[in-house]
Symmetry: C2
Subunit: 188 residues, 2 copies
């Protein structure tokens, strides 16, 4: 018998999965797609997390599945107990982000790198956020049409707006930073 995959209470992936299931029953495969398609830039889950967590959530009675083991698809749905556990977590103050921003590490020490490296990195970051902004516009259109009537749409718009504002700020930052590097190179 394999050791039961212990999953602590604080594990955020648990709650991400419970949250996704409030929008309708989903299999492990569906969950993966849900995160990739709807929250890709802010959250992701891999199969290596999803399947074990679904099993423990099921053992705890927070989700359930009608499908028998071995069946082709095993969609899970959230239980009433699961909704309560989720609601409690949602109400806790959010942990502050202590992100590790690789490009900033590379820029901070860019004096050790060949010249031009900082500029190249800024171009990469800029292009990425320009592309994100385009994708956000697609999502915005969906929120204004097919999803506009849903109660939760205001929360989804707010989430989207976070992404838009951050990406806009970072595009502007890339431009300003590039200019600052040029100025410093001109007047040494």
């Amino acid at each position: 018998m394999p050791a039961p995959a212990r999953v602590r209470d604080e594990n955020r992936s648990r709650y991400a999965i419970l949250g996704a299931l409030t929008l309708g029953p989903k299999s492990g495969y569906d969950l993966r797609q849900f995160f990739a398609r709807n929250l890709g830039f802010f959250w992701s889950e891999s199969f290596g997390q999803i399947y074990p967590i679904l099993r423990t959530l099921s053992a705890e009675g927070l989700v359930e599945s009608n499908a028998d083991a071995g069946e082709r698809r095993r969609p899970y749905q959230i239980t009433e107990a699961g909704r309560e556990v989720l609601a409690r977590w949602l109400a806790q103050p959010p942990a502050s982000e202590i992100g590790r921003v690789e490009v900033l590490l590379k820029l901070f020490f860019a004096g050790e790198a060949p010249p031009g490296v900082a500029h190249a990195h800024l171009q990469v970051v800029r292009a990425e956020h320009v592309q994100r902004l385009a994708q956000y516009e697609q999502v915005a259109r969906r929120l204004d049409t097919e999803l506009a009537s849903r109660d939760e749409v205001v929360y989804w718009r707010v989430t989207l707006d976070y992404g838009r504002r951050v990406s806009e700020a970072l595009v502007a930052w890339c431009d300003a930073a590039d200019q600052a590097l040029r100025d410093a190179a001109d007047a040494p």
Copy 2:
């Protein structure tokens, strides 16, 4: 004999430590403080990482220490080989950030939470970034005075500016999001 702590080439903490050592010799304790004080919002390292990594870097000849084992302080300095390895890493394109933003997860599913939760979360985030902005101003003053003459200061300013712009964008986002939630509550 304990199994040697394997540390892969791609481990970013290695390079963060090498980078910090380009600014002068540092012990494990110093390194921890260096990250906390200078890069706290963008990068952090814990002792559990620092000490084992210092040992492997030393075994690889990328850093060295004059102190004997057991001495009170063991400051390490980067070697020429270390500088080369670091420079190679710095020149690689930065990995794109696939951050997991807890507050966005909580807002996305806030329809499942008691009313008022979203508002409370936004206030927490707002306060945090207002505070960050104040700290950034302190750093800005140091960059304009004692550190102004250093060659690398332009890179440090750029790093700081990233933080400023993101925090400013997020304060504005909190205000706008709060307003949007109020509007939605008024006109249901």
